[in-house]
């Protein structure tokens, strides 16, 4: 059976993730939801805009999920990212890990989000009142 759910969507539905991660062999489920914060480095964000290189992003997300399944013996993994325009408080990413014991799912969940941020080709543009900035583009 397939243990991973990998998706890039326009609008993120976070409430269904428990059902997706629920598993008779699991004793713990961890979920991280990344959301749009209103203030970044003292400036008020009007909106965020996400774009992706979809084929490659899905491939990288699948690799990360399989690495986590292997390393922590997970029963289920979800990685789902939203793209397009997002406003303050919108969810933009959900990662979750389902494991027999809690240590594994906490560690795996952290690995999923940290590695996604390092490797997956998704780009975030911050839109302020007077300017737009591609996040992390410059040193």
């Amino acid at each position: 059976m397939n243990k991973t759910i990998i998706e890039i969507v326009d609008s993120l539905e976070v409430s269904k993730v428990y059902a997706e991660l629920s598993d008779p062999q699991s004793g713990g489920i961890c979920v991280f939801v990344g959301t749009v914060r209103e203030v970044t480095q003292g400036e008020t964000v009007v909106a965020l805009e996400f774009e992706t290189y979809r084929n490659m992003a899905l491939k990288e997300m699948e690799k990360i999920a399989l690495e986590a399944v292997e390393k922590w013996q997970l029963n289920k993994v979800v990685i789902r990212h939203a793209i397009g325009a997002k406003k303050v408080e919108d969810p933009v990413v959900v990662v979750g890990a389902s494991a027999p014991h809690r240590d594994a799912c906490f560690e795996a969940c952290r690995y999923l989000i940290d590695t996604l941020k390092e490797r997956v080709p998704i780009w975030k543009k911050e839109i302020f009142k007077n300017k737009t900035v591609w996040v992390s583009a410059h040193p």
Binding site: G34, F50, E51, T52, Y53, N55, M56, A57, K59, H81, V92, V93, I113, L116, K117, E118, R119, V120, P121, I122, W123, K124, K125, W134, V135, S136, A137, H138, P139
Partner: protein
Amino acid sequence: MEILLFGIAKDIVGKSKIQFAAGEGQPTSVKELRQTLESAYPDLGRLSSMAVAVNSEYVRDELILKPGDEIAIIPPVSGG
């Protein structure tokens, strides 16, 4: 040969694809591709990093480009 551009790389170049005609001036390796792009668009060289993907995989500079490869410029990612 066609190069896909995303995020700030697309903004710097001003379009989402670059075409190189076959033959002279067409980069043969990832390293040459970087050099060609950075000299045509110096702002690409000022980014925190610039990775290259071929057929949806990150690749090293030594890789030789083949006809039909899907080539993409990956500026610093910022998902999540």
